[in-house]
């Protein structure tokens, strides 16, 4: 299966596909429920892994940018600027075709359905991208903490590392939680782009149903609903943690 067969362009070009929503259409989609379930599992794993890897990368980038070592400052800045100034799709293709192009990845299936040789480049590209955005959020969070906090911690004999870990980061993360939540939701939505390299996530299921049953509107509606069911609870869960972390800040 080449990606071209499922590219957004083919969807647009093939106008012969009925565009009307019908009950029969949804019944047809039901037959492919397994594909949507696998797609959902794939989108979830893709996003969850990206969130973890992207956050770790972002933390490293932010600390590099704020540290005293000039070459690392510059390196981190250049990285962030490049990844924020170029399209996600281009980055994804470079990672898939160029970076992983020469590497023979094992093609086993995660959870019995997700092709690892497509999944891994997808996770890497998404993580590299979201790491750049998240690092800017974390950086602003660290900079928003009053210098007096660091001074107080250092005056007690805490090292720079301990100060960062126990004093600055906990407060910084509380401040930037809404922005991080926003970025996590963005990752879930942007993971749909991985369908262009053949990652079998939700949009891949849409394309498969379109190809097999000649319907497009109904599977798209189902995909929309699935994405909403992923993003809405995510922001709600983070809002809950935000309230919990605010305990010390309200009377």
């Amino acid at each position: 299966m080449s990606f071209a067969a499922f590219s957004p362009r083919t969807i647009i070009r093939e106008r012969f596909v009925p565009m009307k929503l019908t009950a029969a259409g949804f019944e047809k989609v039901l037959k492919y429920a397994v594909m949507f379930r696998d797609g959902l599992v794939c989108t979830l794993s893709l996003s969850a892994l990206t969130v973890i890897l992207g956050f770790i990368l972002a933390l490293i980038l932010a600390l590099c940018r704020l540290g005293k070592f000039k070459p690392l400052n510059i390196l981190a800045s250049v990285y962030v600027e490049i990844f924020r100034a170029t399209p996600m799709l281009v980055q994804l293709f470079i990672v898939y075709y160029v970076v992983f192009g020469g590497i023979n990845l094992p093609s086993f299936r995660l959870f019995g359905s997700i092709r690892f040789d497509r999944f891994l480049p997808g996770v890497v590209a998404l993580s590299l991208n979201s790491g750049a955005y998240l690092s800017e959020i974390i950086r602003s969070g660290i900079q928003s903490i009053d210098g007096g906090q660091t001074e107080a911690a250092r005056s007690l004999g805490l090292s720079q590392g301990l100060t960062m870990r126990y004093i600055v980061l906990p407060q910084a993360i509380r401040n930037i939680l809404p922005a991080i939540a926003n970025e996590f939701v963005t990752i879930i939505k942007e993971s749909s782009i991985c369908y262009t390299i053949g990652v079998q996530e939700i949009m891949y299921a849409v394309a498969a149903v379109k190809g097999a049953a000649y319907i497009i509107a109904e599977p798209l509606i189902v995909a929309t609903a699935l994405y909403f069911c992923l993003t809405y609870p995510t922001s709600k869960i983070i809002a809950y943690f935000e309230r919990r972390m605010n305990r010390g800040h309200k009377r």
Binding site: D146, G148, E151, A152, L156, S159, R174, R247, G248, H249
Partner: protein, 258 residues
């Protein structure tokens, strides 16, 4: 009051900004002896805060020496008792110098108890139980034992500063540095903080205090330093400074603040 040798020797300390265009400290030399309650006064911008903040290297001086307990902490290396040169661990020396700030700088995301036990546990590796026991004893001394589980925002300014003082004391420092500890307080809360500081002085704690509280300087200090334009202009006992000022700038300053 016990006086047995100098604890901090400051020699020709300079702090320049903009390549010397601004001289925040312009050659200050002074000894802080054990048991001293040294009060630093002077007009704003005179460099007294910079001087205090240099003592534990919150400010990196441009030049000069700060010899704390026999070790020059402005250098990158220090000599061990057996004569070897090792990398200077500034954090280790800072543990022995408690600092109290104008704006308290309590950690807002931690309870009062956690504020006080963090450094003892993480830096000195004191067991949690022992650290909490000591913290509660200290809180009891400043009348705040019942607020151990409160968060900083739930306290008044005076309470916050009392907590900040005992948080520094929890590390059992050799000297306490106070950077205008009452300047950010409502007037009715100044007294409670000065009372704690007075008690601390009576117990023999070595203290360096930058303040505008002339009453405290007069009553509690045993030495008063007057700074102006980055220089140590005059120093002496409170009686010398307040009753027999020599320097014209000091006379002028006192006529405005007293």
């Amino acid at each position: 009051m016990v006086t047995n040798g100098s604890l901090i020797r400051v020699i020709d300390l300079k702090k320049y900004y903009n390549k010397g265009a601004i001289k925040a400290l312009d050659g200050v030399t002074v000894d802080v002896n054990r048991g001293d309650v040294m009060v630093v006064i002077g007009p704003s911008g005179s460099g007294k805060s910079t001087f205090l903040r240099s003592l534990n290297l919150m400010e990196q001086p441009t030049s000069g020496l700060i010899i704390f307990d026999g070790v020059d902490i402005t250098k990158k290396k220090e000599q061990t008792p057996d004569g070897k040169w090792v990398r200077l661990n500034l954090d280790l020396h800072r543990q022995k110098m408690g600092m109290v700030f104008q704006h308290f700088n309590l950690f807002p995301h931690m309870t009062i108890l956690d504020n006080m036990t963090l450094a003892p546990i993480k830096v000195k590796h004191i067991p949690q139980e022992a650290a909490e026991k000591k913290a509660l004893e200290l809180l009891d001394r400043v009348g705040l034992a019942d607020r151990a589980q409160a968060y900083p925002i739930q306290l008044s300014g005076g309470q916050k500063q009392r907590v900040a003082i005992v948080r520094a004391l929890a590390m059992s420092p050799d000297v306490m540095l106070f950077d205008e500890p009452t300047s950010a307080l409502d007037p009715e809360m100044v007294g409670e903080v000065l009372d704690v500081m007075t008690e601390l002085a009576r117990e023999g704690m070595t203290m360096v205090v930058v303040t505008h509280e002339m009453g405290f300087a007069r009553e509690v200090g045993n030495r008063v330093l007057f700074m102006d334009a980055g220089k140590l202009v005059e120093q002496g006992t409170p009686d010398d400074i307040f009753n027999h000022p020599q320097n014209a700038r000091l006379q002028d300053f006192l006529s405005k603040v007293l």
